[in-house]
Amino acid sequence: MDYRLNFDAVWRSFDLLLSGLGLGLGLAVISIFLGSLIGLVAAFAMVSRNKVWRTIAVVYVTAIRNTPILVLIFFTFFALPQMGVRLGKVESFVVTLTVYAGAYLTEVFRGGLAALPRGLREAGLAIGMTEWRTNLWVIIPVMIRNVLPALSNNFISLFKDTSLAAAIAVPELTFYARQINVNSFRVIETWMVASLMYVVACYVIAAGLRRVERKLAIPR
């Protein structure tokens, strides 16, 4: 095989790749933040005594978790305009990733809620806090600290899912990598650099999140 590696074309567009990586990270951060809010609400709905709330939450989580994210992306981008909802491609992707993240985070938070001892809620109520305040100031902080490792995993996998935004031409890392690949024919170099960037980013995020986990961990 006679193939000489030549990274020139890739380095020339490296700032594009970097900006793509940044956009991907931004999309992941926004989606996990908004998704967490959805996930919290849905998790409380799942453990509530109200059957209607429970059903809505279960249907949402089951439906989203069993549908490929690419189908969801295309559905939001191509099908929603038919119902009169017009979104730009970035907004459309954020909506999809948020809804997707919400479903996975619901499961995480539900598990976290189930693992809390009953006494915690009782203690909150016993000192005269209302149901709402107990949830907000006692239950949620403890639960979130317990599920931090699962949250980190989800963040990394959501960050990797931002690569799919390239399918609707959102200019993130994979999108630019494809462009460089097609324009320069430096096939091996392009994909080596792009996947290495993902790997390094995932590694750095994982290391950073582990520090946060250690800082916030409940002392035992």
């Binding site: 119902m83 899912d161 996947s195 993902y198």
Partner: protein, 219 residues
């Protein structure tokens, strides 16, 4: 009125969608089968291999797990032809998802093998089993039982990942759906329909996993 129009179009498109469905099942089944075999070796290497080999396999697993499946699919599709391996889009896609599956199964197998109590190996040694026999009759059966539920869930992941092959032109269910939509413009209805089919596949696999989990927990 609109719904009857959809049913009408669905009937016209039935052949294309059925073929797409078959391709989706084929891609997923092949990737899971190959990925599992490869993953078993990966998992064994991660636990028992000579240290330098172990490091190499660890690098492989971490690299694959740190890369989005979409990038794996695109890289596999574009790179292989350049280095002189002639694979069509279907084969390149199956290869990418196989590699993805192998890293997942590898980690599962590693976890399961490491979770087996040392005493099991010592007992096997004590009754005079060779390492190979210990592995075959003592460790592997226990590890396999433990990974079965997770492995079934990984299968749903592979079905979902198979949609990515639509981007490199494999006419699996998602691409055939898009082709149908480009003819009749019923994007809402047909994306919904495709989602429903994927849901049906994944939901039944997931239920099957839960069932196995309950069955095996009884022992």
């Amino acid at each position: 009125m609109e719904f009857t129009q959809f049913l009408n179009e669905l009937w016209i498109a039935r052949g294309a969608l059925w073929q797409g469905f078959q391709l989706t099942v084929a891609v997923s089944a092949l990737a899971v089968a190959f990925g599992t075999v490869l993953g078993l070796f990966v998992g064994m290497m991660l636990v028992y291999a000579w240290a330098p080999f172990k490091l190499l396999v660890r690098l492989y697993v971490d690299f694959i797990r740190g890369t989005p499946v979409f990038v794996l699919v695109l890289a596999s599709f574009y790179i292989l032809s350049v280095i002189g391996i002639q694979l069509n889009a279907f084969q390149a896609g199956v290869l990418a998802i196989t590699v993805f599956c192998s890293s997942h199964v590898g980690e599962m197998v590693r976890g399961a093998l490491q979770a087996i109590h040392r005493g099991q190996t010592e007992a096997a040694m004590a009754i005079g089993l060779t390492f190979r026999q210990t592995f075959q009759y003592v460790l592997m059966p226990q590890a396999l039982r433990q990974i079965l539920p997770t492995w079934v869930n990984a299968a749903t992941e592979m079905v979902k990942a198979s949609t990515l092959l639509s981007v490199i032109g494999v006419a699996e269910l998602l691409l055939s759906t898009q082709q149908v939509i480009s003819r009749n413009f019923l994007s809402l209805e047909f994306y919904f329909f495709a989602g429903l089919i994927y849901f049906a596949i994944d939901f039944s696999i997931e239920r099957f996993g839960r069932y196995l989990e309950r069955r095996l927990a009884a022992y």
